[in-house]
């Protein structure tokens, strides 16, 4: 047993660390520290830098423009990236549709789409959820009917993250409403957001931001060559997509950065004339958070090490199932504790969006995003398979109930 990184791994860590220090633009780091919501332009600028270095898609195979890194290197990269902090590559392209395309798509699709994902020439969004199909994704209703060399798509997607910026949307659509199981009649379609008949309506989130949207499809014509893989096999690709991401789901680096910031700001804020960090109860709460985070980090590393040893294992390490639950809880506690640091100054609303404005702050200048961050992060235990759904899965798959 050796919990520490090897010399080689440490050298790799130093290399990526140095790269971030030298290459993450200051304004982007600042946005990440303050709100964690980079603008479209910042995403694009940063992704170009990563892509130029060849790090646009850490976990892709080299033949498609990936790094060829193993699970440990991928993990170190993402953890360092989050801890810096810098934006992670936009997941919808790099983590979601990209791997589906290089695993199930045809040659032409690979050549058309993959390079444009790497440097964010194409901004992708994920069109899975619908008003009636959240946790029960297989009940989705958006319909695609083949007419000649096109599908005609009608229906609605919702909660589509950053669809307002998107060039493309990958959708699960129903192509066979009569299949004997709902999972069987679903296909995976790539749809140009500029197509006629698509309307995007922003949904304002609890923190005041615009991050999710409704996307309406009204007789949208989609060329048949935009079907990925086989018709009616979309559910398998979706399962592959959703199960694809184990190296980063706990977002350890992000929580480490948050814990560090909490400690730093609690050293500045005064409570009863003394730095808040000297308050026994506060210090203990932060310590408890760090204990949970430390053990989750080791859990994450166990999973990563396992993946590295058994790259073709059919069943994942059972410990991997807790990463999403515990990771999201810890992220939420970070936002909560950061909000507590601000005391009353988390209360004034200083931003109605992520753009910022020029009025002087009310209270300390680092307080503005604390409550919005806490509000916004209620989402992390809801999306990507809610924590209740995660527990259902563990109860069944791991505990055998």
């Amino acid at each position: 047993m050796e919990l520490k990184l090897s010399d080689e791994q440490r050298a790799f860590r130093d290399e990526v660390r140095t790269f971030f220090k030298e290459n993450v633009p200051d304004d982007i780091r600042k946005t990440m520290v303050e709100s964690g919501h980079p603008t479209k332009e910042q995403f694009q600028r940063w992704t170009k830098i990563l892509a130029y270095k060849g790090w646009g898609a850490p976990h892709w195979p080299e033949e498609h423009g990936g790094t060829g890194w193993g699970p440990v290197e991928q993990y170190i990269f993402l953890e360092e990236l989050q801890a810096y902090p810098a934006p992670a590559p936009l997941p919808f392209g790099v983590n979601m549709v990209g791997p589906v395309i290089y695993t199930f798509g045809n040659e032409e699709q690979k050549q058309t789409y993959l390079p444009r994902i790497l440097d964010l020439t194409d901004w992708w969004c994920q069109g899975f959820s619908e008003p009636g199909a959240g946790s029960d994704l297989a009940s989705l209703k958006t319909r695609a009917v083949k007419e000649g060399d096109h599908y005609i798509v009608n229906g609605q997607k919702t909660w589509t993250t950053l669809a307002q910026h998107a060039d493309w949307i990958f959708c699960l659509v129903r192509t066979d409403p009569d299949a004997d199981k709902p999972q069987k009649g679903i296909s995976f379609l790539l749809i140009d957001m500029k197509s006629e008949g698509i309307t995007v309506r922003p949904i304002q989130t609890v923190d005041g931001g615009v991050e999710v949207n409704e996307v309406f499809f009204d007789d949208v014509k989609v060329p048949v060559e935009n079907l990925v893989g086989e018709e009616n096999k979309g559910w398998d690709y979706a399962k592959f997509l959703l199960g694809n991401e184990r190296t980063n789901i706990a977002r350890i680096g992000m929580s480490k950065h948050a814990a560090k910031r909490i400690r730093e700001l609690a050293g500045i804020e005064l409570a009863g004339g003394k730095p808040l960090i000297e308050d026994r109860r506060f210090a203990e709460k932060l310590a408890m958070l760090e204990i949970d985070l430390k053990s989750l980090e080791i859990t994450q590393m166990r999973v990563v090490a396992d993946d590295a040893k058994n790259p073709n294992a059919k069943t994942p390490n059972p410990a991997s199932s807790i990463l999403k639950i515990k990771g999201s809880e810890i992220q939420q506690r970070c936002t909560e504790l950061l909000m507590e640091v601000m005391g009353p100054y988390a209360a004034p609303r200083q931003h109605d969006d992520y753009l910022g404005h020029n009025e002087p702050p009310i209270g300390p200048d680092y307080a503005a995003h604390a409550a919005p961050g806490y509000f916004n992060y209620r989402k992390v235990s809801i999306y990507g398979g809610s924590n209740e759904i995660q527990k259902n899965i563990i109860a069944k798959a791991v505990l055998g109930f």
Partner: protein, 382 residues
């Protein structure tokens, strides 16, 4: 032992609930919160007409002669409607200071105007350096002939931008965090030397930063004895906390009703999600929080007029701890049970969650009050 409202109180509560359901539904409130001043002068006038604003004021001043219990019933209903009206600011906070420390003349002049709904007031007490230390006042009031000259900055003043009159705490002697030496002053909000910057809190309630530079007020504007303001502030804040506890009962009642209804309506996997037992249990946790907070709100309310400051304060602190812990946890649970719908502004539930969150930040958060209780011995002996 009797936990029920009197017949008169029940009737008032019914009328209030009707008024609010007619005028303060989610859509109405959306309009109100998105416009200036962020509350409704029309509803405020109706609340005045109903007699709500007179409740805790003495009959001889033109009030109803009620007490904390009447404030409790008002706050519970106002909380249920997520009211943005200046009831807490005007009637509980500034009104409380006026009741406690106002001279016959001051009360005689101002109470009828409050009761009539014409006068909105705010308590300008909080300061940037105070965090939750109630005695932290750096604003100064210097005696100059037969007037005082006020200088300083007041922060997160609820309804401070639209109040007509302010009650300002300022130091006439001693040092920043001392309990002695704080005095209270009645100040016209548009007096020379006052500048105000209005904004909204995270849950849309209006607040303001207020700067006082060489604001001159006559001796007769002093509220209560010079240097004796702290006791008044302490009592008023305990009463405000009891009021927030009652508000939380209103919030949680709606949170629970909205959530259980949502679980019954929302279908996934071919069944209402209310069928999933884990969600039933989570809902029961909200119910438990509601009933526990109802009880602690009654406790804080019943002690809110206690002349023994120690007993009164500890009851308020106990309530505030529960609001910040159990109340907030219950609101978080409600969001989780709503799924994606819970994290949008388009459904009421997120607004309840935000109110509950912001209430923890006002008048001392849960940790602050927990410490206060822990440091002063057993709660069960008082």
């Amino acid at each position: 032992m009797d936990f029920d409202l009197t017949e008169e109180q029940s009737m008032l509560k019914d009328s209030l609930d009707r008024l609010l359901s007619d005028n303060y539904g989610f859509e109405d409130r959306e309009k109100i919160r998105k416009a200036e001043p962020g509350w409704s002068r029309d509803v405020w006038a109706q609340l005045a007409e109903l007699g709500l604003l007179m409740l805790p004021f003495a009959e001889e001043d033109g009030g109803f002669g009620g007490g904390p219990e009447d404030v409790m019933l008002a706050m519970e209903s106002l909380g249920g409607a997520l009211s943005l009206e200046p009831f807490l600011a005007t009637v509980v906070l500034a009104g409380g200071a006026l009741r406690e420390a106002g001279s016959d003349e001051q009360r005689g002049e101002l109470v009828p105007q409050i009761v009539g709904g014409e006068l909105v007031m705010a308590l300008a007490h909080g300061e940037r350096g105070a965090r939750y230390t109630l005695s932290h006042v750096e604003t100064t009031a210097k005696k100059d002939g037969d007037s005082y000259v006020l200088n300083g900055e007041k922060s997160i003043v609820l309804h401070g931008a639209d109040a007509h009159k302010l009650i300002v705490s300022a130091r006439t002697s001693d040092d920043a965090a001392d309990e002695d030496g704080i005095s209270l002053f009645l100040v016209d909000a548009d007096a020379d030397g006052i500048s105000r910057r209005g904004y909204r809190l995270q849950d849309d309630r209006p607040a303001a930063e207020i700067t006082l530079s060489d604001v001159r007020v006559p001796d007769s504007a002093r509220l209560g004895a010079e240097g004796q303001g702290y006791g008044v502030l302490a009592k008023v804040h305990d009463q405000a906390i009891a009021a927030l506890a009652a508000e939380a009962v209103g919030l949680l009642t709606r949170i629970l009703a909205t959530t259980t209804q949502y679980l019954k309506d929302r279908k996934q996997f071919g069944v209402p999600i209310a069928k999933f037992q884990v969600l039933q249990h989570d809902s029961v946790d909200i119910f438990v929080a509601l009933e526990q907070i109802r009880s602690i709100a009654m406790y804080a309310t019943s002690e809110a007029d206690n002349e023994d400051a120690e007993i009164r304060s500890r009851a308020a602190s106990a309530a505030k701890v529960m609001l910040g812990q159990d109340g907030r946890k219950a609101a978080e649970t409600a969001i989780q049970l709503h799924g994606g719908v819970g994290v949008t502004m388009e459904y009421a539930i997120s607004h309840y969650f935000k109110r509950m969150t912001v209430n923890d930040m006002l008048f001392g958060n849960a940790d602050h009050h927990l410490k206060r209780i822990a440091e002063t011995g057993s709660l069960l002996e008082s």
